[in-house]
Symmetry: C2
Subunit: 185 residues, 2 copies
């Protein structure tokens, strides 16, 4: 049995609050099994992309930036929103990589896709792998961005995962997709 | 250089909206490098736990439920919020496992921890591994919950990851931690 068949929407989704990065929506549903009603609260935002950028030596680009959620610097990989002007996740990945790090590469392709949190979000985060990246320009940071770039070997990245230094869930999804892509899993 | 040193809070965090599952907060910051000011928007909620529950035959418990974010049934693993009454992530994991599936097991221990989205959330999601689970009771579902339980072999789980049937980012984090725990990565 598909559990979705036990839910019936009672009226259309309504926006109840909006910030500059997401909207909060509410939609009343009824569970047809029990008759109980509930307002499901969801967060509406763009799709996201994150980038596994590999140098010709097999190093992976990492970025560091202060994150207001955890209130500290996080070790991540390049990425961001897929804007309406982006023609594809691969296009957004190459754009974010260049803007955040000044690097560019070849052969951008999607190696994974996750729903960051289906309980409250309907968007997706794509992982794009880009080969043979090298620095071609200075980063194009906005005046409210402060991003540092590092290159790390795969062994260093694995060690940072095991020690918990890399702990961003979506970044870990991307790194695991890249390991899986190379037949480890 | 630690990028966090380039940010200064201009006043305390304020709650600007609240739903029954999270609060939205705003806090003004200044980038000391450029002088630019920005209101950082964050989502405040409990910590979460998800559970890798293994039977004595090595099968993994999966659950299926309708998710209002993606508006369809998702294949996941047991889990939920760590409530104030839970004494630890392991305690919350055993409680959620029993409530959602009616299964219980032994030797609950944390095998991973992620920050689901440090850009906007400060909470953590712990992955707890529980061995030798078996069905001991009927699930204790609320009348607005509808959850189906399945047992799957590790091969079946890997196949569902590769095909994209399992696509919940935090569930994938947990499954990868469990593969890593067994020295695959």
């Amino acid at each position: 049995m598909n559990t979705a068949d036990q839910w019936k929407s009672l009226s259309s989704k309504k926006e109840i609050f909006r910030t500059k990065i997401f909207a909060i929506c509410s939609e009343p549903f009824q569970c047809t099994r029990t008759g109980a009603e509930i307002d499901f609260i969801t967060l509406s935002s763009y799709n996201w992309v994150n980038v596994i950028a590999r140098t010709t030596e097999g190093k992976i680009l990492l970025i560091r930036q202060f994150r207001p959620g955890t209130m500290q610097e996080e070790i991540e990989i390049p990425g961001g929103c897929i804007d309406p002007a982006d023609t594809s996740p691969e296009h957004a990945a190459a754009r974010e990589l260049l803007e955040e790090t000044g690097y560019a590469g070849e052969n951008a392709r999607i190696i994974g896709k996750v729903a960051p949190n289906p309980a409250i979000q309907g968007n997706f985060c794509f992982t794009v792998l880009i080969d043979n990246v090298k620095k071609v320009s200075e980063p194009l940071m906005e005046d409210t961005e402060c991003i540092e770039t590092d290159e790390a070997s795969e062994e260093e990245v694995r060690s940072m995962i095991v020690s918990g230094k890399i702990r961003h869930g979506l970044v870990l999804n991307a790194l695991f997709f890249s390991f899986m892509n190379r037949s480890c899993l």
